[in-house]
Symmetry: C2
Subunit: 397 residues, 2 copies
């Protein structure tokens, strides 16, 4: 893959030694004048300091700088943590130009430890000197925590006869549920897009991607997803729905879906990528409820790890999802295209060998028809393995 670029957006990475040795742990993104930015943040009442600061700065002024560190979440650090984040913004603004509010700070890593501010500020001159448009791959590596692979996706689309680009990087890994560890995603396009439309595009893309990996709303202390439109392509701004906005949305959806899938595939200890697809629900909310109940069941997840087609655990999760008046005898369940449950129990034609063949794969679908309506939902999840326990029992110690 040739190095992606998003015209106008420059990136630089550096090793500040915040927590990791011998790897980059800082990412600086420099936005051109006139760029527009949209962002969504964690809904956790326990917000990290950088989230509070970034949210406030974004409301005050158009961002010129994004500064991301890995290894330390600057969360649970109280007033000092907030002052630390503000101080870093001020230092970057002084060195790079603009007011402190033009900097959005992001942090991911361990909770409850103070950020080593001096190490971050000491790295700023080098970062500013190293900015270039072709540093996306290094950027994807610099934001990793327990991720085992960097996550970078690009997609092109046609805009006014030119080839436009959407590029994105993400980190997750501490997941199984996005409420648990930090998910950060940074997306950029060289299209020019009006702020309100950009915001709508971002929210649309996030709903079926980052917010459909296990649970929606159960976010961590630091979760954030940012979308920058640089306008580097030089076309007139997209300001309203229409063919251009539709093309942008499609490209953005593709990038977000690919990144979200990569996050689940790289979930802590994950060995399986499983799509939970619910259909024939009365409403989308009810479908999502059932998908979440399956996706969060430790018993289902350990069965996925064992490649054990234990349909009883899936059916039990459906049964406790809280769907009022659910007739369990009307529920059908498939593993990929293999019907395993019908009429309240094992499908008569189903053999365990069929289910095991599906579950032996790295990736497969659990499809559940509720027999109540036409609404659907889809959630991606992974299994619960020994390594999940190891990673999370050893993370700090």
């Amino acid at each position: 893959m040739t190095a992606p670029r998003v015209a106008g957006l420059r990136l630089a990475t550096a090793a500040a030694g915040i927590r990791y040795r011998d790897r980059d742990d800082l990412l600086l993104m420099a936005l051109p004048v006139g760029a527009t930015t949209a962002a969504v943040f964690t809904r956790n009442a326990f917000c990290a300091a950088p989230v509070l600061v970034a949210r406030a700065h974004l409301q005050a002024i158009a961002p010129r700088w994004l500064l991301v560190n890995s290894g330390n979440a600057n969360a649970g650090t109280g007033a000092r943590g907030r002052a630390d984040a503000e101080g870093i913004c001020a230092a970057l603004a002084a060195a790079g130009g603009g007011p402190p509010e033009s900097v959005l700070p992001f942090s991911t890593g361990v909770i409850g430890e103070y950020l080593p501010v001096e190490r971050v500020t000491a790295a700023l001159p080098g970062l500013l000197a190293g900015l270039a448009e072709d540093h996306w791959a290094a950027a994807a590596r610099a934001i990793m925590t327990t991720d085992t692979v960097p996550k970078l996706v690009t997609q092109t689309f046609m805009l006014d006869g030119q080839t436009a680009t959407v590029a994105g990087i993400a980190k997750g890994a501490g997941m199984i549920r996005p409420d648990m560890a930090t998910m950060l995603a940074f997306l950029a396009t060289d299209a020019a897009v009006a702020p309100d439309l950009l915001d709508a595009c971002l929210r649309g893309a996030v709903a079926d991607s980052f917010n459909a990996i296990s649970i929606d709303g159960d976010t961590s202390t630091n979760d954030a997803c940012v979308l920058i439109a640089t306008g580097g392509l030089g076309q007139p701004p997209i300001t309203a729905p229409g063919p251009a906005a539709t093309a942008l949305q499609a490209a953005l959806d593709a990038v977000c879906s690919a990144l979200a899938t990569a996050i689940v595939r790289d979930g802590e200890g994950a060995t399986k990528l499983v799509a939970i697809e619910i259909e024939e629900a009365r409403a989308g909310e009810e479908a999502r409820q059932v998908a979440d109940a399956i996706a969060h069941s430790p018993l289902v997840k350990t069965a996925l790890f064992a490649a054990d087609p234990n349909w009883g655990r899936i059916l039990a999760a459906v049964g406790r999802a809280g769907v009022a008046g659910l007739d369990i005898d009307g529920v059908r369940i498939w593993l990929d295209d293999c019907l395993i449950v019908s009429g309240g129990g094992r499908n008569p034609g189903y053999t365990e060998a069929q289910g095991q063949a599906v579950m032996a794969q790295d990736t497969f679908r659990i499809r559940v028809a509720l027999g109540r309506g036409t609404a659907t939902a889809r959630v991606l999840t992974c299994d619960l393995s020994y390594d999940y326990v190891r990673i999370n029992a050893e993370y700090r110690t």
Copy 2:
């Protein structure tokens, strides 16, 4: 401990080879004429066949027999499973006396396999011949599945100048959450108690014991808790609230709490028993919400396993519990009596060594004050270990 007895209630166990070898897997309880019985069942929409049958039989007639098997849940077995359960009731009634509706069947074990009915019915004559009042310890062993220790608790109380008894056995183990595996509990007293009062006593005792281990309402396919009042003591029935009912309730509460604690302590792979205590909530529901969010967080549970005082994970769980308008800066958290979080972060006087000393214990408390009101909640939970994954990944295979 001398063998407990509850006058009038006879028990017998047998090895039917349903799933296990070389151990009893059937329990028969014979109730005297005039006994009253109360029961609560799973709220899962996906009910096992024996739950459907027991619930119907209990509404039809006063039970004379309880028949429990371990090793097979007879769940997800559709019409055949229900016919199997009915057939076993009919066989027992024919051999032991009374109509089929006088039998309540209970099953626990693997979901989705048909019950080996012939092995159960073949064991009935031996069970009937072996009935005796002093078989409680054998009964506690016969209902075990992945439990590592039998759970039997007795408590006495004074009633009309006589010593009355409450005895109970339970099995859990496949838990961490009672929605996951079957929890069965059988309780008996030799007091005579009117049916409505007995029902109220049972519901009162269950609320703060079996329904306060991790989650309420998220029950399995087979969960059941039965309370029998034999009247064997010969005193006039307790029919209304008053000193006698209060004494009974206290004894029943003590037995249920001890059994519920034993279930959590013996949770699959559990190495820690942790009480989550929430206080200063605006309402009990909100307190329970926070307790459940902590008790169900895989990240908190793996930290408990690692004896890692990772207060950031606890605070993050509080933050995502869905309490509207929660001021995270007003939250305080203690490990036993050690204040670890105040003012939105680490308590200034707290050292990691203090937290580690608390968490090195087998049993401790996580106490959270929300700073919003006076309501409280308490939930017992355990840690998430390698063995939880091993047990649940290997259970069927």
